[in-house]
Symmetry: C2
Subunit: 441 residues, 2 copies
């Protein structure tokens, strides 16, 4: 009997646990699910005969080590910074490991030792990073195999609320860590377009968006991710003239979000003095030049939007002009904004989420220009098996199974960019309804 | 014979050394000037009979300690981060110390020990911080002594080129560390105005300037400094409704500089790929959305300035549209911009610089509102005794003399905000031509 150890039973582990328990029936696995809260584990394992729910404090290194020792493979759903210390124990005890996180420098350093130990440290095995890698490399390898030359690769992904659950003018609700949404894009976005590097400072990011159409799902808007350039080496397309990655939002979102950026409301570097005595209107006013007169008109003039248009309506809907006390002390503008948005952009009972991903390739073959658009839309089943939980959890589960069953035999630090990994992964994802639609022209 | 040890003989030490050598003749001091370059020291001491030029490597802690041991007072003109380690030796050996740098947390921690040792650690003894403290506190104490209540304190300072040496449309040349000028204002500017906090993100900083008039010297423009709020506690005016500090530039400078901010050209957080193969026009273009057409028109439209106005003329004068190679590799946009500006904004032989400072106070007394404007304009004598070198060096020299001669008897960590310090300091500065003009109304 093969043994799996899942560390962490949080929100994104639900579909993963369900998948592996099902696989366990077929292949006779024992699935140990470990979390500091044993109640949470029991809720997710539901007394399944192949499950072994345990309480485990990851700070208890002795017990954690014992659990790793008795398993065949470890899945870490812990915060990313904890992965290297788990990986070190895995290398020592010769156990493979799977995570959904980016390969950190510390993780990378374990490559030679992992190969020597004969194990795989599979990272970036979720959605983004994860499914994006697999689906992109499938097309890239295909184009190269045909003798084509890639000219452009643009790749977009967004975690959104499904249209049927959308009831607010932003077309957005939180389906993932709110803090990351508030701080998204801070820094400088870098990409290359037609052979020319582009550098976008944060205060311009949400003004230089691109319209993306996904057949059957309408239009979206994309803003550039911070780092598109490093994907050239990850995908071995160093000389591609255009490489852009972006995040998808519904139309108008970026224009309205840009108002917060322009005002400085997403700043997380200082504490707002006296915020505990402020109301929302006063907070908003603290970012405007002083003068009398209607705050909405002053804000509109300051950031250059119509005082009675769509964007102002979106801002009003959030309540940033209300005279309701903030009641927060010693917090940054970003934290204050987050408190407001968490209330307004909360998923309601019955709401379902949606993942949208689109790769746009342009290439040249036999002196002809061609393009491939590869699109994925996944909706959540319910509040537990969200699109996010499925698209993050299922690839982890599938890759774990493929490793356990000997269908992936690579060693060392890996990500799902090679055929041996992405072919069976994408095939099984398809059977689970996570299917890219490819359109060539 | 009293002994003074000056550590560091760089640009800003020239006027200080000259002042102390003159004082040495009167009061029989021995002035040891120590620098890693003994040639530099000899150039500044010119064989003066009271001087003792020595070569000293500050990393040689044993010799540095010996030099501190044989002196009565230490002046550190070293980089600020080195001050605490020098201060610790001073405390141990019971020697007073003077610096022009802000009191760091490590310096502050030495207060009790310094008092016990019976010595003074005098910091912030230059121009800004330094002269600003002394001149501000003189007015603040005066208003309070009269029974007035302060309503507003705005304080501005700028290091500029003197009008007679100005020959470029920016009205600016480097008279101080270029890197600090390029990165100035990054972060968030915080101040309070009419009892309301104001938070300005960097991308709005140079658009919200204030016009300042200095009688006899015309108009200047001020942008807000990052931290105005902390000055309320420094000056014991915690409840003042308006407290703003700003940096002075010539008119149009801020509007033109804002173009670089909007483009992202002052970003120091990443290296520009392929800059060694770019010319200035291509570098500028990398911050613009891609399209064909005249680069000047595209830039003008992107940042919202007229394509043929004053601001565009200032940008053209710098050469950012020229097809001249940059020839720099592995550098940030800010470093590339600095290279261009260092060439264009270089002081020519014979050019002189200018320091402008203005404090604007508003206060209430007997139910009447009054105001005091206190202004200082200092011009450089020549390329060595610049306004910057004089206004930084002379207060250090004066305070050193006052300590040595027993006219300042405070102990512990001090800055020049108390009457015992600022009264004799401002008096002697006046006699040296550094004189504030006060205007009441």
């Amino acid at each position: 009997m093969k043994k799996v150890l899942i560390l962490g039973a949080g929100r994104s582990a639900s579909s993963l646990i369900q998948y592996l328990l099902k696989a366990a029936e077929l292949y006779n696995y024992e699935i140990t699910v470990a979390d500091s809260s044993v109640e949470l584990v029991q809720l997710k394992t539901q007394g399944h005969k192949c499950s072994r729910p345990i309480a485990l404090d990851i700070a208890d290194t002795k017990r954690t080590r014992e659990e790793i020792e008795r398993t065949d493979i470890v899945i870490s759903m812990l915060p990313a910074f904890l992965h290297p210390q788990i990986a070190k124990v895995c290398v020592e005890l010769k156990k493979s490991m799977v995570t959904a996180s980016y390969v950190s420098p510390e993780m990378k350093e374990l490559d030679a030792e992992a190969r020597k130990a004969g194990i795989i440290l599979m990272n970036e095995a979720g959605l983004d990073p994860g499914i994006d890698h697999a689906s992109a490399m499938k097309v890239i390898d295909h184009v190269h195999a045909e003798g084509g030359k890639l000219l452009s690769f643009k790749s977009y992904c967004g975690g959104l609320v499904a249209p049927e659950s959308n009831d607010n003018p932003w077309g957005y609700k939180f389906t993932w860590a709110p803090r990351n949404v508030i701080l998204a894009g801070q820094g400088t976005a870098k990409y290359i377009e037609n052979g020319k590097y582009a550098y976008l400072p944060y205060h311009k990011l949400f003004t230089r968006t691109e319209k993306i159409n996904v057949e059957g799902h309408g239009d979206f808007e994309a803003y550039a991710n911070r780092d598109s350039l490093s994907y050239r080496s990850i995908y071995s397309i160093e000389n591609i003239p255009t490489m852009i990655r972006g995040t998808l939002r519904m139309p108008y979102y970026c224009e309205a979000w840009n108002v917060f950026v322009q005002l400085g409301m997403t700043d997380d570097t200082y504490h707002v003095e006296g915020s505990e005595k402020m109301n929302w209107k006063e907070f908003t006013d603290s970012f405007l030049p002083q003068s009398s007169g209607d705050i909405k008109k002053r804000l509109a003039a300051y950031v250059g939007i119509p005082a009675d248009g769509k964007i102002m309506g979106m801002l009003e809907w959030l309540g940033i002009f209300n005279e309701i006390p903030i009641k927060l002390k010693g917090v940054s503008p970003a934290q204050i904004l987050q408190a407001l948005l968490e209330e307004k952009w909360k998923l309601k009972d019955g709401d379902i989420d949606m993942i949208v991903m689109q790769h746009q390739f342009e290439y040249e073959i036999n002196n002809k220009k061609k393009s491939i658009h590869s699109s994925l839309v996944v909706k959540g089943d319910d509040a537990i098996h969200t699109a996010m939980a499925k698209t993050v959890g299922l690839p982890i589960g599938i890759l774990t199974k493929l490793i356990l069953n000997g269908q992936i035999n690579l060693k060392g630090v890996c990500i799902p960019i090679v055929k041996e990994i992405y072919t069976p992964l994408l095939k099984e994802l398809e059977s689970l309804g996570i299917k890219f639609i490819e359109k060539e022209s």
